[in-house]
């Protein structure tokens, strides 16, 4: 183990481990050593406690909403047959294509005073706008709802897997003992599947904690928002660093929880299988109720917001003209980031095949990058710039931005590659070498062709993740390098929602590609 860890072949992975791990380490270091400037009492009382509390409240509410959305839907589509079951089975993953901020813009418009919901209410009742109370999206519960409605598929996917696989035998045993359907759910299905489901919830909460765009747009003072404000508006880098430390702690705690719940299998939803027991057809009325429930979830979390954005774009005749420079920048940054993160992921996957030590290091930093929200990594980059005395402009800014993309998303690229590699017979490596092929020859003739499907998936996922990324891009992009996400956010927070619709729709459209890939893979395991 040590022998292979010290050979010259281990230099590239070690360098890449350092590259991927540095920003988050710098952010942690800055948080731990922060001193001077604003006093600690001030930070604690005015920043740390309020931001942390808000974040925890948002996460708690959104956990409850996610469970309420995902678990019944997963239970129904796993165990029962009802009209539309096949369609819902995969379509319930679609909301993953919507970044939180896009969901927030759409629902802000839908729920606004002038929006269709309130207008319909007034038309029906004859009230005026002051006569009634209406839920306010610009609040902590509002943000929780928005985040839950884009992230609940994480819970849905794990719950589906849990209901289908783990509890299969127990469910059939309970059925044979005459347990009624509701009893089956509360007494057997849920308790058995709960650890797995909580794993999915932890993962979704880690993503929710990383949100910046939705919270900023809705004016909810979460840690992510606090970090950016402390740096840019208050001029308090130390406060930003301390807040980042808390946020890293929360996010890593959720990642750790997810790993513990899912038994070290990490966030690899694709490896869960949907092999199901024979589904029981629901009686007519209940069948329609099930269809209605799943349809409603899909309407709220995907079709209503997307069609509202599309309708707004058409109605206001949003101009596509100034869109092209944004698309160009987005694709350019996306390609640079994807190439970098992909190469890093490839080096991780291949070079760690034979060294447990390197594998541990690579997994560790990749997980750290994955758990660290974009805001935190952006902050890490800003500290590095400050220490090295570089200005945030031109090529340097782009280089740092791509670096942060690599740091944040390498783990997303490792997963599909590793999954492809894990599917191959373990002895393939030895077989190849026993036939006289090794080193570069082995890479070209065996590793590369075998990794191609995983590599395509990895590239696609990386590109879309980078395209959706908001906070780090916002913090680090040089002048004239606005991406679709950055511009959509700028328009939306400027209350020019109509102009934010087209970039937002493009982001959703791009986001659909990996989601469809994922649902196709899950569907394949279901058929098998």
């Amino acid at each position: 183990m040590l022998r292979s860890a010290l050979s010259p072949r281990s230099i590239p992975p070690v360098l890449i481990i350092a590259l991927v791990g540095l920003p988050v380490l710098v952010a942690i270091w800055a948080g731990v050593t922060a001193g001077g400037g604003a006093t600690w009492e001030h930070i604690l009382a005015n920043r740390l406690v309020p931001y942390t509390l808000t974040t925890i409240i948002v996460l708690a509410i959104s956990a409850i909403i996610m469970l309420g959305l995902a678990v019944p839907a997963a239970w129904l589509t796993s165990l029962y047959e009802f009209p539309g079951r096949r369609l819902f089975s995969w379509a319930l993953i679609l909301p993953l294509a919507m970044p939180g901020y896009v969901m927030a813009y759409a629902w802000a418009d839908l729920m606004g005073v002038a929006g269709p919901l309130q207008a319909t209410l007034r038309d029906l009742t004859g009230w005026s706008a002051r006569d009634y109370w209406f839920p306010n999206l610009f609040s902590a519960p509002g943000l929780a709802f928005v985040l839950a409605s884009t992230l609940f598929p994480y819970v849905y996917i794990t719950a589906r897997a849990a209901f289908s696989m783990q509890s299969l035998a127990t469910l059939e045993a309970a059925r044979s003992l005459g347990t009624p359907p509701l009893g089956l759910f509360w007494k057997v299905g849920l308790p058995v599947a709960l650890p797995t489901i909580l794993g999915g919830v932890s993962l979704a909460l880690m993503e929710a904690a990383a949100d910046y765009g939705a919270a900023d747009f809705l004016g909810v003072q979460t840690l992510g928002v606090g970090i950016v404000r402390s740096w840019t508006s208050f001029g308090e880098p130390n406060t930003a660093a301390r807040l980042a430390l808390v946020l890293i702690f929360i996010a890593s705690a959720f990642l750790l929880a997810a790993r513990v719940f899912q038994g070290q299998r990490g966030s690899q939803q694709t490896s869960n299988r949907w092999l199901t027991p024979r589904r029981v057809p629901l009686p007519r009325v209940w069948g329609i109720a099930a269809t209605g429930l799943c349809g409603l979830i899909l309407l709220i979390c995907f079709f209503a917001p997307v069609s509202r954005l599309a309708w707004l774009a058409v109605e206001t005749r949003a101009s596509a003209q100034d869109l092209w420079p944004l698309v160009r920048t987005t694709i350019l940054l996306g390609l640079m980031g994807t190439t970098g993160a992909f190469l890093a992921a490839l080096v991780f996957t291949l070079s760690t095949k034979r060294s447990a030590l390197l594998r541990l290091g690579a997994r560790g930093v990749a997980a750290a990058g994955y758990a660290a929200p974009g805001v935190v990594l952006g902050l890490g980059a800003l500290f590095i710039l400050k220490v090295t005395g570089q200005a945030l402009s031109g090529t340097i800014a782009i280089a740092f931005l791509v670096w942060i993309y690599i740091s944040r998303f390498t783990s997303a690229g490792v997963e599909p590659l590793q999954a492809t590699l894990d599917r191959l017979p373990k002895s393939l490596d030895d077989a190849t070498r026993s036939l006289g092929s090794h080193g570069l020859n082995q890479f070209v003739r065996v590793d590369l062709p075998l990794l191609t499907p995983g590599a395509i998936a990895a590239g696609l996922i990386l590109f879309v993740e980078i395209l959706k990324e908001l906070p780090a891009t916002l913090m680090l992009r040089p002048f004239g390098w606005d991406t679709l996400a950055v511009r959509a956010h700028a328009y939306a927070t400027d209350e020019r929602l109509a102009q934010a619709t087209l970039p937002s729709l493009l982001i959703v459209l791009a986001g659909l590609a990996p989601v469809i890939l994922l649902s196709w893979r899950l569907g394949r395991t279901e058929r098998n």
């Binding site: 017979p425 002895s427 030895d430 077989a431 070498r433 026993s434 036939l435 006289g436 092929s437 075998l450």
Partner: protein, 333 residues
Amino acid sequence: MSLNRPLVATGLSRSFSGRTVVDRANLSLEPGLVTALVGPSGSGKTTLLRMLAGMETPDSGSVQSGDDLLSGPGAFVPIEKRRIGLVFQDFALFPHLSVLGNVMFGLQKLPKPERLTQAETWIERLGLSHRREAYPHQLSGGEQQRTAIARALAPDPVAILLDEPFSGLDPSMRDQVRTAALDAVRAAQIPALLVTHDASEALLHADQIAVIHNGAILQSDAPDTVYREPKNAHVAKALGPLHTVDRDALPDAWQAQIDGGSKKVHYRPEAIRLGDGLELTISSMSLAGAVTELELDLSPTVKIIAVCQPGRPLQVGDSVQVSLNPELVFDFA
């Protein structure tokens, strides 16, 4: 052509974190013969194979192919330079290559036309001609198996090592595949090692059997010799059922037939045969594979095990006459 040299391991040892897995193992594999390496799981079979192949570095001892030192003091030829063919339990075929592509994989050093002819020769020899364009996932288990063997033999290796190659196959087709595959291996006239935990497979198909226990090779001989003249109880147990009985509990006539003087003697169930001799009562019986196993009351406290063909009209409580075949009774004193 390879020079048909033996592959010889001398004093090979390997330990992992303080636990000795292979302990001064000696093994000589002769060209043209299939040697089966038999032992229970965890006995060090796979580690020994991995050291022969160059996948594992020995702590001490040497591996030689003829006069060439492959592993030894100050020498280690890596797996890719060793020219030893390997067949794995999971076959390890390249999923992105056809049967032809798989078999041609190790022939890279040859000019293209020769590569093709040589691959075709092996594909034909293993009866895969009609499947040459198929991909591994389209092949049956037996076809995958034969492709793996053709791939390992095509580059003209100095030896071939097969790691539990038949255990993944459907039992109904295993025998047929096994015979055809091992015939092709023998025809290559190189040393062949068949690692297996299945004693009957070794007894049926190997030319030589080496029994490994706790990392050490205890005996290496022709199948019949190993079965009939095991050097100790571990060897005997590795090759089939073995029962133990106190010598004193046996009737005097039987005791006189058995050499040695130990208190305990070991016997194969076939040693006790139905036929004229001692009359004993059946206390229980069960169908054990192709034979019926009878438990007989030798005395109120001592039972012995015998086997007979199934289908005999016997019942528990019946009396039967049995005789002893002393050749299958062992005294390891």
